[in-house]
Amino acid sequence: MKDLRPWTHAALYGALWGALEATAGTALHLGRVPFRGEIMGLIGLVCLVCLRRLQPRVGVVLVAGMTAIFLKVFTLGGLYPGPLVGIATQTLAVELGFLVARGPWAAALGGIIALGTNPVQRVITAWIVGGTEAATAVLRAVGELGGVRAGWVLVGFVGLAASIGAVGGVGAWRLAGRVVRRLGGGA
């Protein structure tokens, strides 16, 4: 018999993330809170980094992400593509971060990719809903309204979100360390 804990941890942390997406995520969305994507991104990052620190196995984060998507589909948000794209991207980002780096660097890298791709996720969602032309036109309009090119607007957003992701990733790693100590050693 192999260790069941990676599976149960993935299920439970995925459930926690899914529950927070369904409750806090929906509340932030309905309240039109600014930076709600980044806030939910940080919450997801904390769940995934903690899971990966407790169960340092390749793929465990992916299972948790699938669980969160599964739960999200059956909640108030239903099949609205934005959060689903966000959860999937974030899961892949954190897994990638831990594949290429170790320790807090991995968490920071995961955070940078996860939150740095947040504006890109919005473009993907806009593309799913509105098509290529609408997504490009919205980007161009936003850029021209600000007096700069659309690409620079996107770069600015990406840079800001990535910085938040890096800090959030390191913070999540430290928090996960405290959780491991509280649990008396973890995996």
Binding site: M1, K2, D3, L4, R5, W7, T8, H9, A10, A11, L12, Y13, G14, A15, L16, G18, A19, L20, T23, V46, C47, C50, L54, V63, M66, T67, F70, L71, V73, F74, G78, L79, Y80, P81, I128, V129, G130, G131, T132, E133, A134, A137, V138, R140, A141, E144, G171, L175, A176, R178, V179, V180, R181, R182, L183, G184, G185, G186, A187
Partner: protein, 386 residues
């Protein structure tokens, strides 16, 4: 999957991947028509005021943006496409949410050969109310202790730490419960330990005399000229505290260190011990070249082994290759069901050292040393020798 669901999903895919307004309009007609006929309640959900207003706002924004860049005609066409696409996606979401439930997902994952993922989803669904309740309780306690909203926000990491640790604890309990009840579907099942030899499982609480019993048994078997193989794992105790384990060859009496207690978080295999490779190598050596008819002693089989690690591979190899006369395994009480599940043995006798009125050594000797034929298991085929 029902035909209505398949049609609505096909419409959603078509609308998502086409930028032509005719295709999107046809998909919208198809999705709305199917929803109207097959699930009118789902269709009504799409017509909620907030969703309609949101769709109109998104279409207006797309119209304005494209009109700015490419002219009003183009803007109106793209805006119309966006509105129609939202109608298709909204209808598909409503129909899917009403016709696909958790059970359907579990059946689908099982049919796709991903039963384990289905069980993970099931566990997550079961845990959801518990986690939500915990989150609510922890948040209330946090607010009360913090005194105000801003202090509560500042101490947010402490709240997160409690919630994450609780989730980890529940996950550990779920894994332990699954293992103890023999639910191995979540884990990758290793091949069972197959043996046709007479098997005794010795159990009892810490300090009940399991290892001394094994020593007495080895002496008794030696007196009777019956060969013994395997190992014992006596604890290393300093100032009354267990600080590690040694491993002792049951046949030769040689000893090396196997594990040493370390700081929290630095242990291996989910334990608070650091294991030495030499110890496992020594264990492997003790399980090699076992003489025919020998009694194989494994003291003890722990959670690490029951997860397929530690000494498991060496024990598995020994049982496959050697013609043993009997098998004695020492295990803690909580792991007895999991061990019995992991053993594919013809007959197993469990000896609990706390059971009154029983001489454990006699029971073990009577079970392991009888005049009945010695059974062995070689190369996956059972055979009996006189």
């Amino acid at each position: 999957m029902t035909p209505a669901l398949a049609l609505v999903l096909a419409a959603a895919v078509g609308a998502s991947f086409s930028s032509r307004i005719e295709v999107v309009a046809a998909a919208a007609v198809l999705a709305c028509g199917v929803a109207w006929i097959a699930d009118r309640r789902a269709f009504r959900r799409v017509l909620r005021v907030s969703l309609v207003l949101g769709g109109i706002f998104a279409a207006a924004a797309a119209t304005a943006a494209v009109a700015w860049a490419s002219g009003l005609d183009r803007g109106l066409m793209i805006g119309g496409t966006v509105l129609l696409r939202l109608v298709v996606l909204g209808t598909a979401a409503a129909v899917v949410a009403r016709s696909v439930d958790a059970e359907t997902i579990l059946r689908m994952t099982s049919r796709l050969g991903m039963e384990r993922l289905g069980l993970v989803f099931g566990l997550a669904l079961n845990a959801l109310p518990h986690l939500s309740e915990t989150a609510s309780t922890v948040w209330s306690a946090h607010r009360v202790r913090s005194g105000g909203r801003w202090v509560a926000l500042r101490r947010f990491p402490a709240l997160a730490e409690v919630l994450l640790a609780h989730t980890g604890r529940v996950a550990d309990q779920a894994a332990a419960a699954a293992a103890l009840r023999g639910h191995t579907s979540l884990g990758r099942m290793a091949a069972p330990l197959v043996t046709l030899a007479r098997t005794v499982v010795v159990t009892g609480p810490t300090g009940s005399g399991k290892t001394p019993l094994v020593r007495s048994l080895i002496e008794e078997l030696g007196r009777r000229g019956i060969p013994v193989a395997g190992f014992l794992q006596p604890a290393i105790v300093e100032d009354g505290e267990k600080i590690g384990f040694r491993i002792q060859d049951a046949a030769t009496g040689e000893v090396v260190e196997l594990a040493r207690r370390v700081a929290p978080g630095e242990g291996k295999f989910g334990t608070s011990y650091r294991f030495f490779d030499e110890g496992f190598e020594f264990g492997k050596h003790a399980l090699r070249d076992i003489p025919g008819g020998a009694v194989l002693v494994i003291d003890e089989f722990g959670p690490v082994e029951l997860r397929g690690g530690g000494h498991w591979p060496a024990v598995e190899r020994a049982l496959r290759s050697a013609e043993i006369g009997g098998l004695l395994v020492v295990v803690r009480r909580t792991l007895v069901p999991a061990l019995i599940e992991a053993l594919d043995a013809a007959d197993v006798v469990v000896v609990d050292l706390e059971e009154e009125g029983v001489d454990p050594l006699s029971v073990v000797m009577d079970t392991l040393v009888t005049d009945s034929p010695v059974c062995s298991h070689v190369g996956g085929q059972a055979m009996t020798e006189e």
